[in-house]
């Protein structure tokens, strides 16, 4: 699978427009920064005048008369310049940091709404590079490149104005350089953009590789493939090297050429103006002043060239962030739903109906967004509230599809899923999700203490309830073995605990949520028999009165279920209670018999 590529679009204001809503709140600060830049440009233009004044009024006449006010004015100017620089820098920094913060937040918020299939197609490192590094780059460019460019352009315009006044013919000669610079920039812009795109892509792949290399370190060690990984990584750094070098090369060519153009312009003026002076068409003083001005724009022109190339290149970052922000979430709450139930981040809980837990699949057909086969076709099933449904079948047979649909992690391609008689799409996702208790086979814990993990997100939750939940599922046995009890840090992803321990803690987490709908996906697969026996009763107790889905291999759990669904190759081939299915003597019967023998006696 490849990372999203952004066509060969060249520099386009359309892309930049996407940033407008983000920049708008800071237009005041930007404006202040610009105004200060204007002031600073004026100061910079006028400071040389003080020297001229000193020469003409003190040194040449040989007097110090009037030096007092001169000194005061000069010193005052410098004293003003300092705070102006400080203030300008603060405004620019304000824009940079807040814009960056807003962009990060916007991407983060959007990521919380994207469907799980997005996460299956994009590596964590890739997304991470967009959220962190691309946003930093954009905000830095907007804040600094804009103000720097503004200063340089102002300065150049001032100087051009002065030159036009001095001698318009010579000024036009200098301006001859403008179309050349424009043409050169036009030629280079798509190259800058392409090179920078390649760099950003390489950067994001590198981040992905670091992420994979670090999270998979244990496995890499056991397989002794560290060197092989390093070789694979070297390919990526090679790509990054090429892309960065190409990008540097482009500006290494671009900037000297611009300098060459502007120096040539000065040389032309020197030749033409010199002749004019010798022919007495032009006063010597005018040429001298004109040349001084022409020289003074060399540096700002260089800066414009540099900033311009950065600016154009930043479009690649915007494309990446915008690509993330305009990624369609697979599952969206309609405006009416949002109106009534609120969004994920601002729920209107007062409008939420309580949930009973009736689930109905009505003529549901389903195909995974990245698949091309019907997983369900015209499927009908009614699960009254409080029913325990067991899903049986081989590994990878598609047992989780039903769960995914019932929990609205995916929506049916055709037909409806109804909860308490209402289509799930007529209520908000959060309405449903905050009523779920989900225990996954590969439980993910977050860094933090055991207590924080069980409490997950409930700020106000007394210790007693946490301890009770833990005790109910025997997670307190895990805690008893930990050095700091409930305050032990479980490490990143819960890595300091064993899989079985993590399952117990995540079970406690689900129990504490007290959800009307419970999903146990092989929730006890790594827990030892005795502990499992201990929590078995607890489980039946917990599931009482709740609609629940059990994905399990263990016989006892299946037999006690109200409804057994047998899944094979992504289809439901049998359904009924345990007794009914046994009586059918179909696939389930065979499976069960094999399991029973196996469970009691085992294979060779």
């Amino acid at each position: 699978m490849q990372e999203q590529d952004y066509g060969a679009k060249s520099f386009s204001l359309k892309v930049w427009k996407k940033m407008l809503p983000f920049v708008r709140p800071y237009r005041g600060a930007l404006f202040t920064a610009f105004a200060l830049m204007l002031f600073l440009a004026l100061v910079d233009v006028s400071i040389p005048l003080f020297l001229a004044y000193a020469v003409d009024n003190f040194v040449r006449p040989g007097t110090t008369a009037g030096m007092g006010p001169y000194i005061a004015l000069y010193a005052g100017m410098i004293l003003l310049q300092g705070p102006a620089v400080t203030w300008m820098a603060r405004r620019a920094m304000h824009v940079e940091m807040n814009l960056g913060k807003d962009l990060k937040r916007a991407t983060f918020v959007h990521l919380q709404t994207l469907g799980l299939s997005y996460y299956n197609q994009n590596a964590v490192g890739w997304i991470l590079a967009r959220v962190m590094s691309d946003t930093n780059h954009i905000s830095g460019t907007v804040a600094w490149a804009l103000t720097d460019m503004f200063w340089s352009i102002l300065y150049v315009v001032f100087v051009f104005g002065a030159m036009l006044l001095l001698n318009w013919r010579l000024a036009l000669l200098v301006m001859l350089v403008v179309p050349f610079v424009a043409a050169l920039t036009a030629v280079f812009q798509s190259k800058f953009l392409t090179a920078h795109r390649a760099m950003r892509r390489a950067n994001s792949r590198l981040t992905g590789a670091y992420n994979e290399g670090i999270t998979g370190a244990k496995t890499s060690k056991t397989l002794v493939i560290e060197d092989r990984n390093a070789r694979d990584f070297a390919q990526l750094t090679g790509q990054m090297y090429k892309a960065s070098l190409r990008s540097s090369l482009l500006s290494a060519v671009f900037i000297p050429i611009i300098i060459f153009f502007s120096s040539t312009a000065v040389a032309l003026v020197l030749q033409r103006g010199g002749v004019m002076v010798m022919e007495n068409v032009l006063p010597f003083g005018t040429l001298s002043a004109f040349i001084s001005y022409a020289l003074s724009i060399l540096e700002p022109v260089q800066q414009i060239a540099r900033v311009l190339s950065d600016f154009i290149a930043t479009q690649a970052n915007i494309e990446r962030v915008d690509g993330l922000l305009s990624q369609e979430p697979g599952i969206i709450d309609s405006p009416e739903v949002v109106e009534k139930y609120g969004t994920t981040f601002e729920p209107k809980r007062e409008n939420w109906e309580p949930i009973k837990g009736d689930i109905e699949f009505r003529d549901v057909s389903f195909m995974y967004p990245d698949g091309d086969e019907w997983v369900l076709e015209d499927f009908n099933l009614t699960i009254p509230a409080g029913t325990t449904v067991a899903l049986v079948g081989e590994t990878g047979a598609g047992k989780s599809t039903l769960v995914n649909l019932a929990c609205r992690f995916y929506e049916p391609t055709k037909g409806q899923v109804l909860i308490d008689g209402v289509d799930v799409r007529e209520r908000s996702q959060l309405w449903l999700h905050s009523r779920l208790g989900y225990v996954l086979q590969n439980p993910h814990l977050f860094s933090g203490t055991v207590k924080e993990n069980i409490r997950y997100g409930r700020a106000t939750c007394c210790k007693t309830r946490i301890y009770n939940a833990a005790r109910l599922v025997s997670a307190d046995l895990v805690v008893a073995k930990l050095e700091n009890g409930y305050d032990t840090d479980v490490g990143e992803g819960g890595d300091r605990l064993s899989t079985g321990e993590k399952q117990l803690v995540s079970f406690a987490r689900a129990v504490l949520a007290d959800p009307p709908i419970f999903v146990l996906d092989e929730a006890t697969s790594s827990i030892d028999t005795e502990t499992e026996q201990l929590i078995q009763n607890a489980i039946s107790h917990i599931l009482q009165g709740r609609t629940s889905f059990l994905v399990a291999h263990r016989l006892s759990t299946i037999r006690d279920a109200d409804l057994v669904l047998v899944v094979k190759s992504g289809r439901i081939i049998e359904r009924g209670t345990h007794d009914e299915l046994m009586a059918q003597k179909g696939y389930y019967h065979g499976l069960y018999t094999a399991m029973r023998i196996d469970e009691s006696a085992g294979a060779p």
């Binding site: 699978m1 020469v55 040194v59 110090t64 410098i78 300092g82 620089v85 400080t86 820098a89 940091m97 918020v109 990521l111 919380q112 799980l116 890739w126 992420n211 994979e212 998979g216 370190a217 060690k221 056991t222 002794v224 560290e226 092989r228 990584f233 990054m240 090297y241 290494a252 000297p256 300098i259 060459f260 120096s263 010199g274 002076v277 010597f284 040349i291 994920t344 081989e394 590994t395 999700h433 997100g457 300091r496 899989t499 321990e501 092989e522 697969s525 827990i527 030892d528 005795e530 094979k568 190759s569 065979g590 029973r596 023998i597 196996d598 469970e599 009691s600 006696a601 085992g602 294979a603």
Partner: protein, 641 residues
Amino acid sequence: MKKNKKSNGGVLRFIGRYTAGHRHWLVLAVLAVLVSTTASFLIPQVIRFTVDLVLGSETEGAPPYMLAALDALGGRDSLRANLIWCAGAVVVLSVGGGLFTFASRLCIATGTERFCRDLRERLYGHIQKLPFQWHVENKTGDIIQRCTSDLDVVRNFVSAQLLEVIRTVILIGVALGLMFSMNVTLSLISLAFIPLIGAYSTVFYFLVGKRFLAADEAEGELTINVQENLTGVRVVRAFGREHYELDRFDKYNNGFANLWLKLGRTLSIYWGTGDIATGFQIFTIVVAGAIFAVNGTITLGEFLVFVSYNQSLAWPIRALGRVLSEMSKTGVSTGRLQEILDAEEEPAEPNATKPDLHCDIRFDNVTFSYDKLDVLKDLNFTVPAGSTFGILGATGSGKSTITYLLNRLYDLQPGFGSIWFGDTEIREIDRQYLRRNVGLVLQEPFLYSKTIEENIAIADQVQRDDCRSETADFEIDRRRVRRAAGIAAVDDAISEFTKGYDTVVGERGVTLSGGQKQRVAIARTLMLEAPVMVFDDSMSAVDLETDAKIRAALKEGTGASTVILISHRINTLMAADNIMVLEDGRVADIGTHAELIRRPGPYKRIYDMQSEAAADAGQSLEEIAAGGADGAANTPEGGGV
């Protein structure tokens, strides 16, 4: 990671150390920049020369060297007649300057990018080789932030600031030399500002460093937060905790932005102060020079020249101040990178042996703890060569720790027992050799973002890599991959994917079920054809039917290998030659299945619990004994799915 001890002096040392092999690029860049700086210094001189001395006759304000040049070039009149020469000189200088600017940029870019490429590879390779303990202690997001964001800070410093430092120092030197040659008193007045600028620069240097460290660490925290949120996205969704996650994110994001703004406030004052100091330096020279000129101490010409030299001194000094603040930031970043690089890799063991591992494995009084609490306590047992050894134990009883020790992911501390492979103690065996020959299937296997085929063949390829050259591209032995997948009973499942063995899995790609992942991991380890195989609850997510199938195939496929099986399922273990029951880090019992079910104890208890189902179904133990052997074959549809 342990608290950063900021060592700013380390920037240049860091760069010096890790640019090894690419320094000639930096040297070339410096040489080129010398030429281009000279050219850009000369262009205005030539123009002034032309305007003032050739076109005008402002000899009184002209520096002595210009007058000398005028004489050398044949005097004013000949140049006036050939004005094009002067213009030509400007063009030639700008072309030359441009070429050398290009050359310096090219060289510095090449040097920098090569340095960064090497540094990235070194970091990655180093991280791969750091002990497992280090990985447990450090957060992925933080390491990523250091390897990307901090590395970028260093990269910018080398590519943008290093040359600037050199250019600045040269310009200051030239300007000072010229100034002193003209007037010592004024030069000293001008120099008087340098200690002042030096003093406040030092203060800001440390302030900036301190603030940047805080901001950089906050960026690390934020990265950790985002990385964990993205990794745990399924849990976030299932619990509807997006709001909580956003609140946490906001906390870190705001903290990060605020610390940067704080750094920005310091920097802005620094810049403002710098501008005032520079402004006053020029101001003092203009005013003092004017007074001197009025007094007649210096001439008007000297005054003008002196002021212009002073200006060319003032701006580089100001630039030096900015470079210093960049250097302070870079010092923080190099410090954070150095921390990673300083972490000790698993030590090389030149005297390590590579014995044949078809031998008994013996744990001798093994005691082990991660923190303070002992996980394994005085553990003693022997796994006979070529046998199948089962381990049963409660959650947290230390089963996985045994597998980690067998792979030397952790080493035993001296005095806490020993592990023997035949006559060789485990710590004397070459670590890589050991891992390659003790094939371990982890409880929660990790698949790489590659195709299934590449995943299964990954370790096998490496083994063959070692026999051949470094970079050759290897043929995957498809036949062996299929065979391993067949033994792991995952061949059929893979074939059902649209792209079969070419299906990309891992972080991005088709999501495999837990059981499928485990089986791909088993196949991957089988490719090692190791003399010892360890399965750490590797079939927990596999249904019983498949479990039995895999075990039967394993029995045939692994031949003389010693097999260690860890499981909670009695039927997975019962056919083992020996079964050890682990309780709280100690051996509670050990024996064959038949022996263990005959005596009361944990094994019997668990056995009874697990056979309850069978008992309920009315099957007697005799029937079990008779029917058990072909249990796997009784699968409906011949086990073809």
